[in-house]
Amino acid sequence: MAQLSGGNGWRYTRQGAAGIVFAIVLLPMVTVIWLSFFDDAVISFPPSGYGWRWYLNAWETHQFGRSFIVSVEVALASTVIGVMLGTAAAYGLERGKLPVSGAVQTLLLGPLAIPGVVLGTGLFILFVQIDNTIDLRVVGTLPGLIAAHTLLTVPWAVRLVSVSLHGVNRSIEEAAKNLGARPFTVFRRITLPMMRSGMIAASLFGFVQSFENLDLTLLLTGPGRSTLPVEMLNYLEFRVDPTLAAVAAVQIAIIGVLMLVTDRFVSLGRVVS
């Protein structure tokens, strides 16, 4: 009996600890959503009332709408390009017999390790050089932003697709060959479907990475070609009111829905762990 209650005690401790971790993770988000409904222009506790006012303000502030579209465009394009490149790289690294595959993999994961500001500065200088040398304007253009953000999506794709391929017994592909499938058929019918969960997860993470990125993007935007996080920072320079909280709450909702939808196709917990 004593042992039994000891076991229960341990279980409650564990559940309590998990609860605290969840609270720490969720608290900022809950606070932001709560703030977004405050009626006052100057944030103060307790609020004098609640309302949708700042959501309306965000909607009417055109810079948010415009930059939201840019953000979605950049995130979609860089995700599609990044996942295609990253999947090809992961397939080559996992199945090819490259002698330097370890070094290549590290190189491809590099952008994850370099601070965004450093990467952004480097890209800015590179883009300016391109402009000077071949008279091609890159800074502040959509293709320039997409190229930069592809650096953010490729590592996720390489990592996640590699993981999903790595767990796959290579004899599965041999079995298909043994049954008469030519190499391309093996890839299309067997290998690609087995990479699918990794690719879907990589798309989600890549999209989120690109969508919320601020530091890398900061130097690379131009007039009318700014992303939502950069516009939010700009707004913050002049006004501190719950409009940003409202924009952030909308972002949280979008990403949350994206994750739920993705989770229906692949179990994210399984792919990422």
Binding site: N169, I172, A175, L179, A181, I190
Partner: protein, 363 residues
């Protein structure tokens, strides 16, 4: 029509020789088991037959046709992989039908043959399941059905039972053998499990370090092993060093032991299978002792359920004897560690082998 032929097959990886001049004929409908310790080259041989590994030299012939340079997808082999290698994202039926689809078999015929194959491996009604929804034994049967349904000229099995628990293993083994017989499949099976090889094969090929050490029926290989390494790899045995004194008598230290013949003066190793060694307790007046027995003292009694083993210390070293577990009124029943016994065996049970000893390594 001659099933499968391997001619002087050789495969090297840099300085390492994985398969060293293996020549083998598998008759139509015959089941040949390649047996050996891991890393002996048996799997490489199988993969050369399937076409996954190109041989360094030598030829592979299927039904008399040279397929050495033919890619795996154009060879007519059906392989069952060690981990089954089922397609995880396809239903059981789609797994089984994949080979038919690749061969361009029309849909309605495909469905009929899938149903037939499911019936053959007793998985009727499970066609819509995904592989991970099946038990290990069921997955194994799907792998069998998938390889069989295309009617391969050569059926290849790579350690097909190694992922199953002991009880299931015996069951599936019998099933594989029955299917293979019924369909008359020319089959090559690779295993490191001697029991599997002994019970399932028409012919055993013992391989070590890339070379064939002995080839013959399971009975021949077990009863008349070609050399010490085969003898000690296949089954349990006792080995005693000594010299042939006269034909039929073998000197080990101060004892003369019965043996199968031999030339006087030859240095040999005497091989004894435990089930051929008779054992009798040494009574107070020696009445029950065997006449020309060899004295020893029991050191370990191992109860194995249906069988019991006695390890007996003698002046010539430890000797292993085994018998069906004695009944409770049997004198052997009361034998315990430290008891004195007499050992004996028929002359023909004492096999003489060359003393060069090169043990097969289990890596």
């Amino acid at each position: 029509m001659s099933g499968l032929t391997l001619q002087d097959l050789r495969r090297t990886y840099g300085p390492t020789v994985a398969v060293d001049h293996i020549t083998l004929d598998v008759a139509e409908g015959e089941l040949v088991a390649l047996l050996g310790p891991s890393g002996c080259g048996k799997t490489t041989t199988l993969r050369m037959i399937a076409g996954f590994v190109p041989p360094t030299s030598g030829r592979v012939l299927i039904d008399g046709r040279d397929v050495t340079r033919v890619p795996p997808y154009a060879r007519d082999t059906g392989m069952v992989f060690q981990g089954y290698a089922l397609f995880p994202h396809m239903s059981v039926a789609a797994n089984i039908g994949f080979g038919l689809e690749m061969r361009g078999v029309a849909r309605h015929e495909r469905e009929a043959r899938i149903t037939e194959a499911l019936r053959l491996v007793r998985l009727e009604g499970l066609g819509e399941r995904l592989p991970h929804q099946l038990s290990g034994g069921q997955q194994q049967r799907v792998a069998l059905a998938r390889a069989l349904v295309v009617n391969p000229a050569v059926f290849l099995l790579d350690e097909p039972l190694s992922n199953l628990d002991a009880r299931l293993r015996a069951e599936v083994r019998v099933e594989i053998r029955a299917l293979q017989r019924r369909l008359g499949l020319t089959t090559v099976l690779v295993t490191h499990d001697q029991e599997e090889a002994l019970t399932i094969a028409d012919r055993l090929v013992v391989i070590d370090r890339g070379r064939v050490r002995q080839s013959g029926t399971p009975k021949e290989v077990y009863e008349r092993p070609a050399d010490l390494s085969v003898a000690s790899f296949l089954g349990r045995c006792t080995l005693i060093k000594g010299t042939v004194e006269t034909p039929g008598s073998f000197r080990a230290g101060r004892f003369l032991l019965p043996c199968e013949g031999g030339r006087p003066g030859d240095r040999r190793v005497l091989l004894l299978r435990p089930e051929r060694v008779e054992l009798a307790p040494k009574g107070p007046n020696d009445a029950s002792a065997l006449p020309d027995g060899f004295p020893g003292r029991v050191s370990v009694v191992t109860y194995l359920g249906g069988r019991t083993e006695w390890l007996v210390e003698t002046d010539a070293g430890p000797v292993l004897a085994s018998r069906n577990t004695p009944a409770s009124d049997d004198v052997l029943q009361s034998l315990g560690s430290g008891d004195e016994v007499h050992l004996s065996w028929r002359r023909e049970a004492g096999r003489l082998l060359e003393p060069e000893y090169e043990p097969m390594k289990e890596e």
